[in-house]
């Protein structure tokens, strides 16, 4: 027995919410892969807690998106029954967890970006989105501080840790472009006061990201022309595998509950 996939409508409002909600959900899934596997117990707890915060934020956003989509789905159905092409997170979120250096650097890049985004969304014309942002902004501040701490320790650490951070930066950097991509969905969101065009976050993000890289003794990367397309449903080869793991239970045992 298996469960049929579902699709969501093309409303720009729903797409805007899903781009953010899927980002939180997919990163939560990737970070939670460290549960029971982190290098030290304290980091196991920290990563699991951050994954839980992101999952809670995703839940609020997907619940809201499902309601606006109006097809009678709930947040679990959106999470577990959409196929790869229906997921709208930037590719950066779905890249495999890599080593600990890659994980903390991605967490720093994403938490810095989310913090900027949540702050803008606190003023959203959508009261539910503004309320979700009001909670998430406080959580993201802790995530950013924690991740920045590790970027400094590893970047400015031993030869080995610094080499790992440089390698992580090389892998991650081209995918950061997508965090500042801009299209009709952003334009509609900005026009309605729903939320900012992601492109408007770029300058502040670069200032903060580069400040920490410089402090960590990491060379600033050259800009890349690569433009990933996860926001439009075009994902890397890793996404399908990740969803296969994440969705397995609900696909095999539809509606199964604890």
């Amino acid at each position: 027995m298996s469960q049929q996939s579902i699709n969501v409508g093309a409303s720009p409002q729903v797409q805007y919410l899903l781009r953010l909600g899927d980002s939180c959900l997919v990163l939560a899934q990737r970070i939670s892969e460290w549960s029971g596997h982190a290098p030290i117990l304290e980091e196991d707890l920290a990563l699991s807690n951050m994954a839980l915060d992101l999952l809670g934020q995703a839940r609020g956003l997907l619940t809201h998106a499902a309601r606006l989509d109006g097809q009678g789905h709930d947040e679990d159905q959106l999470a577990f029954l959409r196929d790869e092409r229906q997921y709208l997170n930037p590719v950066l979120m779905e890249l495999p967890r890599g080593d600990f250096a890659f994980t903390v650097l991605r967490n720093f890049a994403v938490s810095t970006w989310l913090l900027l985004l949540w702050r803008r969304l606190e003023g959203s014309s959508d009261a539910e989105l503004a309320a979700i942002a009001g909670k998430a902004v406080k959580e993201a501040a802790y995530h950013q501080q924690h991740a920045a701490d590790w970027v400094l320790r590893l970047g400015d650490g031993t030869e080995e840790s610094s080499a790992r951070m440089r390698a992580a930066l090389g892998t991650l950097w081209p995918y950061c472009n997508e965090l500042f991509d801009s299209d009709a969905v952003d334009a509609a969101a900005a026009a309605q006061g729903l939320g900012p065009d992601w492109a408007t976050l770029k300058e502040d993000w670069r200032a903060q990201f580069f400040e920490v890289l410089a402090e960590a003794g990491l060379e600033l990367p050259k800009d890349s022309a690569y433009q990933s397309q996860g926001r439009r449903g075009i994902h890397s080869e890793h996404m399908g595998h990740m969803l296969a793991t994440m969705q397995y239970l609900q696909r095999a045992y539809p509606g199964g509950v604890w």
Binding site: G134, E211, V212, E215
Partner: protein, 179 residues
């Protein structure tokens, strides 16, 4: 004054508040839901039905105890008729809503209570503050009172706590993070 301390005139509501004040937080059972500051309001059902509406504000977006707390509230108030629970996200919960009594109980239990949350002020875009470990505010050990303590991890057994250890009495302890 928090809603929990307002003391509504209506006897029925007062009796319900009395019950609510006895419900412990499932993760930190030494303090009650009211002392934690997550019970934002309690009112009689407006549509004339026999029962109550309880307004709760979750602590963290992903707090796994949220559902359990709702079940606990429903069970405790069952004698009052139908219990409707409204989850209210805004304004977002802050540790500033933990009552003085709650803070005292946390400390007695061995959890260092949170300082003011305004250190996390979020208005506008700010440059990230790089905080060096040595410059962090010293947190007093809830057991021996020494300020010779160090942070072991920014995240603890639950999302709301951090792990510390006391360098004087050598005991580990938890800290309820300001948020």
């Amino acid at each position: 004054m928090s809603p929990a301390e307002r003391g509504p005139a209506c006897g029925r509501l007062e009796a319900a508040w009395e019950v609510l004040r006895q419900i412990p937080d499932p993760e930190v059972p030494v303090i009650s839901l009211c002392e934690l500051g997550i019970v934002r309001d309690l009112r009689l059902l407006e549509d004339g039905a026999e029962g109550l509406e309880v307004v709760l504000t979750p602590t963290y977006s992903g707090c796994p105890a949220t559902e359990l707390i709702q079940d606990d509230v429903r069970a405790a108030l069952a004698a009052f008729g139908e219990v409707r629970i409204t989850l209210q996200r805004a304004p977002a919960w802050t540790t500033d809503w933990i009552s003085e009594e709650g803070r005292r109980k946390l400390k007695d239990y061995g959890i260092a209570p949170p300082g003011p949350a305004n250190a996390l002020a979020t208005g506008g875009v700010q440059p990230i503050r790089l905080v060096h470990r040595a410059a962090l505010t010293k947190l007093a050990c809830p057991r021996c009172g020494s300020e010779q303590t160090e942070k072991l991890s920014a995240f603890g057994s639950t999302a709301c706590k951090a792990l510390y250890r006391c360098l004087s009495c050598r005991e580990p302890f938890e800290h309820f993070k300001p948020i």
